[in-house]
Symmetry: C2
Subunit: 253 residues, 2 copies
């Protein structure tokens, strides 16, 4: 019997800007791909507004359901940056000044220039540890299995560097894809047959519409490399045997 | 007293492809902007995997909390297209063949060419009405306040044309923005003062990092046009009075 170790994550994107459509989120894709390299699978993402109670409820919903939770957005110095205080409330711990964060800020700006707004960024839930980054003087923080990060993509990405030693993954989810340039319904039966053959492979069919024609990418995912390859080979054989054509790799697109 | 009518929506993006980071969602932004033009505010988005129970639970969570719920993804002809049957389960109604959908399909393909896979796409929850579209022969459907749409952006977008008469909005959320090219913390106090002055205006500060410098967009949102304009004017005055500069419009970015 093949045993696989699965580690899961969820993400909370905090920001009216994303919900309103004014700003496109750029963090989900980056975080998912990074987590996958760490052996962690993203299982759920929620985009929520800058509303305290919603932040608290969402953090508490997700932190018990997944191994890790990542939040982005709402940790700056302005009145609408309410993520940190609401994560403290979600955990039921005091919201306190981090001496380490204050020291970082003093070093960066010189003591006399620290405004109330910047001091706000040194507040974290009691018991949290900082997530430092080379881009911004405002650190994120880790509270148990919840990682609170910036929303600006370049800052969020630089925070991940500080997390590499704190995330413990399982067996990586491997994936391969082949593509066809006909409607996916022609292949529906084969896909079922292949998926049924391999218990550790999930097989997704993702239609696309390009140059006024439908096509589909068949994406195989598995934590077991041998099954993954065998499943791809089986589908290729079935497609060829039906007189149709498949194409390998992203280049085919 | 100013009264405003607020109508809300949430969105469920269904697909392992989005969660894995392989595909970037392109529907959230489009739907949010479209809804805003209809007078509806997007309040929550969830990205979930192709897992039946998760789809049911999420639909039931959201359909009671928002005026409208929109789903994208998982309504094609293959084995992983399980959205429709799970929406039926969420509502506790039978999953039945739509005579209207079958007629559309027969008309398009000619009766003898309809495969089992394609027939699968004619199944909808009992009591649902079709969402037709000119791009694909596979319709979406509306079940009470839940709108089930395709994941392919061009198809999803074309389905919205069929929804314009079915969505009843409230007062539109209007927005304006000004920008600064200094760190947002310099402006934190002014933002609080302006927001406190106008009960129907929400003011967000969205930092950005460009050309190695921080800046920020201050975005005003309100359903009351006069308050919106007055709030923008007040912040401009405060910024100018402090000896700093603000910039108008997207062109400034």
């Amino acid at each position: 019997m093949t045993e696989v170790k699965t580690v899961t994550a969820s993400m909370i994107i905090i920001g009216d800007e994303i919900l309103s459509g004014r700003t496109k989120d750029a963090n989900l894709t980056h975080l998912s791909l990074w987590l996958n390299r760490m052996g962690v699978q993203m299982r759920e993402v929620r985009v929520i507004p800058d509303v305290g109670q919603v932040i608290q409820d969402t953090v508490n919903d997700l932190r018990h359901g997944y191994d890790y939770v990542f939040t982005t957005g709402g940790i700056g110095p302005t009145h609408d940056d309410i993520t940190a205080e609401n994560v403290a409330k979600a955990f039921g711990v005091p919201f306190v000044q981090s001496a380490e964060s204050l020291a970082l800020l003093k070093k960066h700006y010189g003591i006399e220039k620290i405004s109330d707004a910047r001091l706000r960024m040194t507040m974290i839930p009691e018991g949290a540890s900082l997530i430092k980054n080379p881009v911004s003087t405002a650190p994120g923080f880790q509270m148990e299995n919840v990682f609170v990060m910036a929303g600006i993509p370049v800052v969020m990405q630089s925070m991940l560097l500080d997390l590499e030693q704190r995330i413990f993954g399982g067996d990586k989810m491997l994936s391969r894809a082949i593509h066809v340039f006909e409607g996916e319904s022609q292949f529906a039966k084969m896909l079922v047959e292949v998926e049924q053959e391999f218990p550790h492979v999930s097989l997704g069919s993702y239609p696309f519409f390009r140059n006024k024609k439908f096509g589909a990418s068949f994406v195989f995912r598995s934590q077991v490399a041998a099954e993954l390859d065998a499943a791809v080979d089986m589908l290729k054989l079935k497609i060829s045997a039906s007189g149709r054509e498949w194409f390998d790799g992203e280049a085919a697109l």
